[in-house]
């Protein structure tokens, strides 16, 4: 097992993430229950989408207190690779691993659509040259409206921490932000679902380069042969 996919009560994209990583990319992955510990061999963590703890209180607000979050925080502090997708992004924001917050969509409704997004030039892994400039990725959320204080927003923008922007903003996110990274460049969060764009019957295959980019540092020093990379 290299990739740990956290499973909270109410997670519902955990199987999807495991399928994309393990079955499609061929990278060893397993789901890890929120009351247990991160296995010592963990090299990357995906915090999947869903409705952890039923979205009670606020999205991600209860999951941040789950026992496994202590392990996740120290893993991230040591430079471990972390990707939060949808509810996972919300949890990482609540836990303070990523800046900002996600509030109710401005249309006040859930949105499940194939969303056009633009990839920003964020770092040596996430940039249009590596991945492509415009992507189609599924979104499915009621609370994806990203918010950040003006000053922090300026910092986020000037540091190149924005990964993805919506083309045709579906939820009112500030600066059309769909995904970000932390300053150090090891914690990532996005509302779109790359794990739902990995099969030929999916709306696109644009999730593959996103997941590959995230897993790249793990796999560069890996003995596992990954044909997909």
């Amino acid at each position: 097992m290299k990739v740990a996919i956290l499973q909270f009560p109410g997670s519902n994209c955990d199987w999807d993430a495991e399928h994309a990583v393990k079955d499609v990319l061929g990278v060893p992955a397993a789901r890890i229950w929120h009351k247990s510990h991160l296995p010592s061999e963990t090299e990357a963590v995906i915090v999947p989408g869903g409705f952890s703890f039923g979205d009670y209180l606020r999205c991600g607000a209860i999951a941040r207190f789950s026992p496994i979050m202590n392990d996740l925080k120290s893993f991230a502090e040591r430079g471990g690779q972390v990707l939060g997708i949808c509810n996972g992004f919300q949890i990482l924001c609540e836990a303070g691993l990523l800046p900002g917050a996600l509030i109710r969509n401005d249309c006040l409704e859930f949105r499940c659509v194939n969303q056009k997004v633009k990839l920003e030039n964020s770092n040596d892994r996430f940039n249009p040259e590596e991945i492509g400039g415009e992507l189609i990725l599924p979104i499915a959320h009621g609370e994806g409206n990203y918010r950040l204080k003006d000053q922090t927003l300026e910092e986020l923008e000037s540091n190149g921490q924005v990964l993805l922007r919506y083309l045709g903003n579906p939820n009112g996110s500030i600066n059309d932000i769909a995904g970000i990274r932390n300053e150090a460049g090891n914690v990532y969060g996005m509302m779109p679902h790359p794990e739902r764009a990995v099969e030929t019957y999916h709306p696109s295959l644009d999730g593959l380069p996103i997941l590959k980019a995230f897993l790249k540092p793990v796999l560069l020093n890996s003995s596992v042969e990954v044909s997909a990379l």
Binding site: C13, H19, G54, R111
Partner: protein
């Protein structure tokens, strides 16, 4: 009935329940005097109030199908062809849901259920708990739920009240299903004045499981412990099953406590915990969800199926309110609860699973010798009844039936009474149809549903059928699902209307490249005690049963919802059909949209010629009248076989059946995924009706539009001719973005597709966003 007879059971520990059983009390419980007499005969004594409540819910239409049981026996429940795929593994009525074989050792459990009455009163919670109930029916079978759909019916969207209901229902479904993480593949939505005040909310769930993992809802093995799992019981949903078996009235809002409140997070925990528990070898003996009639139904049904007795102690039932009496606990319809019977001595294993998920697993009783359902509360026996009397001995009625006058009139209808449509009006007629909410885009609905979770969505909502890949089971197959029922045809000719619903549903699957396997039906009708309503119910069931037999597509389960009336009005007969089909190979997945310019467009099945019952008559003249279109099942089979065969050979780019709105609407819909495309259509004749309106907007059955690459068109026309299937080359797609139509050499239409698309896509959002 002797009012002074006292029950031979000891007094109930809650003094308020020790009342005399008066005729008024019996009537309030929805039991007829002769039904009560039967209760007395069964018990040999007067029931106490708790027992009366138990009989009341178990003998309600919702649980006992007392007005429909005889009719339902007409449905074939297994396949005649024993060698084909799709054999029935669990038949209709045997368990919580039917199960069919899909090959490679896997089965699919699926079922549809109504939540009409609760949704009329409290649309959000009513619809949400409808989803919750049907999902429990599926995972109770041991299946992992893999898709949801809904059949929804509302009044006119001009009414603010209807808008509130529509919004509330869609939000309720979205809120509950999205949280569960089960893809909702849409379904169908119709708008018709007959549903004003009595919307229909039918929810379907399908799940996948290995043959050997099928669970049974039977309490067997004397001494085996009975567990209650899920959250505590409250006073919500008291007597919901009886409520659903009455007509809605102005006073129905006072029944709001009969509407349950859902918690999708709790259901998600219950779902995962139950699947985890059922994966432990030989632990679970029987399992049943507590849906309608809650603890009552689950205990007596499991005992009855297991030919056992069962005894439970209400003091051990987790409760979230204080001071609940036995009547309330037994009749509560609190959501997200299950009854589980496990092997004696393995109690710890079930407890551990539920503790992991932070849920209760309370040991509330055990399986007993004999046939009694015994309920204790505070040390006293508060109910002691033969379990089978509740499940198998309810009265069964065949009501008098009278053919309503409007049906007689409809058969005598003369098309010539409709004025001829001038050529110059075709464009505006088309626009009116595209703007009708029944025909307009439903994106407003399904973009609120997570249809992509579980990574299986292969054809998203909006095509003829939704398709999900069965990757979760690790098999390379796809399940297609379609819902259908045009109430207008069922109103004008119930027998044919039901056949049309069936045929169209199956045709939708064929257009998607899927072979039909089995049906679940939701019979939504008015008060069966009214002879005209009962006639329509009976004829619809016959039409449906005959279609099932003809195509060898069995019914594996379903639901009956009667008493759909409000004030002076009754709903049109609405036998909703949902059919699942299988697509074995990826390349056979076919959608209903043109792909590119220069595809040839062929109409299979012949030119439409009938206008009766059409949406054109509604949008043009405000009328629901006329002779229902003809149905010829042999012709229907011919076109579907041809479609499947031709799709298998890889020669069809897109396929879409003609339905509401007819030929022009169907063509427009095929353009709407890529509105930059256009079509050039040429019709050399007006067809058999010799009328423009019937040709362009008539809803004759068994018609399908296909697009094929230009070099294949001759082959396909020849092949159709060889099969005796009428096929006409109508023209081709273009890159002009114009919808062009010539009829008998005259230009009838030259409209920008973008303009038509805008009308179609904005009709519902415009109504919903401006109020």
């Amino acid at each position: 009935m002797n009012e002074n007879t006292i029950s031979t059971l000891p007094p109930n520990p809650d003094p308020c329940l020790n009342v005399k059983i008066s005729p008024e009390l019996v009537a309030q419980h929805g039991l007829l005097p002769e039904e009560y007499d039967q209760v007395l005969k069964i018990l040999g004594r007067t029931p106490n109030l708790t027992e009366l409540g138990i009989f009341s819910v178990m003998w309600s239409e919702h649980c006992a199908y007392k007005n429909t049981r005889k009719l339902l026996r007409l449905f074939p429940t297994e396949k005649k062809d024993k060698d084909s795929i799709g054999q029935v593994l669990v038949k209709a009525g045997e368990e919580n849901a039917g199960v069919i074989d899909v090959g490679e050792g896997w089965g699919v459990a699926f079922k549809i259920e109504s939540h009409n009455h609760p949704s009329a009163i409290e649309p959000f919670e009513g619809a949400a708990t409808g989803v919750g109930g049907i999902v429990r029916d599926i995972f109770t079978m041991g299946a992992r739920p893999i898709l949801l759909t809904n059949s929804l019916r509302f009044g006119s969207l001009e009414s603010d009240h209807v808008k509130r209901l529509f919004r509330g229902v869609v939000h309720g479904i979205s809120n509950y299903g999205n949280c569960l993480g089960i893809p909702n593949m849409g379904g169908d939505v119709y708008f018709d004045d007959c549903y004003e005040g009595n919307p229909l909310v039918n929810a379907l769930c399908a799940g996948i499981l290995k043959h050997e993992d099928i669970q049974r809802g039977a309490a067997t093995g004397v001494g085996n412990p009975v567990f209650y799992v899920g959250p505590g019981t409250g006073r919500d949903g008291l007597g919901g099953a009886s409520f659903a078996s009455r007509e809605l009235t102005e006073e129905s809002t006072a029944d709001r406590p009969a509407v349950q409140k859902g918690d999708p997070f709790m259901e998600k925990l219950l779902l995962e915990a139950c699947l985890e528990m059922m994966a432990i070898p030989d632990l679970v003996v029987g399992i049943q969800d507590m849906g309608a009639a809650g603890l009552t139904c689950s205990t007596c049904e499991t005992a009855s199926r297991g030919n056992s007795g069962i005894e439970i102690d209400l003091d051990l039932v987790p409760q979230r309110e204080t001071g609940m009496n036995s009547y309330e606990i037994m009749l509560s319809e609190s959501q997200e609860r299950m009854l589980v019977i496990v092997k004696k001595g393995r109690e710890q294993e079930i407890k551990e699973v539920f503790e992991k998920w932070d849920l209760y697993a309370a040991h509330i009783g055990e399986v007993k010798e004999g046939d009694r359902m015994v309920v204790r509360h505070k040390g006293v026996v508060v109910a002691d009844l033969p379990a089978k009397s509740l499940t198998d001995e309810s009265p069964v009625y065949e009501q008098p039936a009278t053919e309503p006058a409007h049906i007689v009139d409809a058969k005598k209808w003369n098309l010539n009474a409709v004025p001829e449509l001038p050529e110059k009006s075709v464009e505006s007629s088309l626009e009116k149809l595209l703007a009708h909410p029944t025909i307009a885009s439903k994106r407003w609905v399904w973009q609120q549903y997570d249809h992509m979770v579980m990574s299986g969505c292969t054809v998203e909502p909006g095509s003829d059928a939704g398709v999900v890949h069965l990757s979760i089971a690790g098999i390379d197959k796809r399940l297609a699902i379609s819902n259908d029922c045009n109430n207008r045809f069922c109103y004008l000719d119930p027998y044919r209307g039901a056949q049309i619903a069936f045929a169209e549903c199956m045709r939708n699957l064929a257009c998607s490249g899927a072979r039909a396997l089995a049906v679940t039906d939701n019979l939504n009708f008015a008060n069966p005690n009214k002879p005209e309503a009962y006639h329509m119910l009976k004829e619809c069931v016959k039409g449906l049963a005959d279609s099932c037999s003809f195509f060898d597509v069995p019914v594996v389960g379903g639901n009956v919802s009667l008493y759909n009336e409000h004030g002076d009005g009754a709903i049109d007969p609405t036998p909703v059909i949902s059919m699942v089909g299988l697509i074995e190979k990826a390349e056979r997945v076919t959608r209903s949209f043109f792909k590119e310019a220069d595809e040839s467009i062929i109409l299979l099945g012949g030119l439409p010629y009938e206008l009766g019952g059409s949406y054109f008559l509604q949008t043009e003249y405000g009328k629901k009248e006329g002779t229902c279109p003809n149905v010829d099942l042999n012709e229907e089979k011919k076109i579907q076989d041809f479609l499947i065969k031709t799709i298998d050979s890889g020669n069809i780019n897109a396929a879409h059946d003609l339905a509401e709105g007819g030929l022009l609407v169907a063509t427009a819909e095929m353009l709407f995924e890529k509105p930059d495309l256009g079509v050039d259509l040429t019709l050399d004749s007006l067809g058999d009706s010799n009328r423009l309106d019937a040709l362009l907007f008539g809803e004759s059955q068994g018609r399908v539009l296909v697009s094929v690459s230009k070099d294949k068109k001759e082959d396909i026309l020849t092949a159709a001719m060889q099969d005796g299937l009428p096929a006409v080359l109508l023209g081709n797609t273009t890159n002009t973005g114009q919808f062009k139509l010539l009829v008998e050499g005259n230009e009838i239409l030259d409209s920008p597709v973008n303009k038509l698309h805008k009308i179609w896509s904005e009709a519902i959002p415009q109504k919903m966003n401006h109020n």
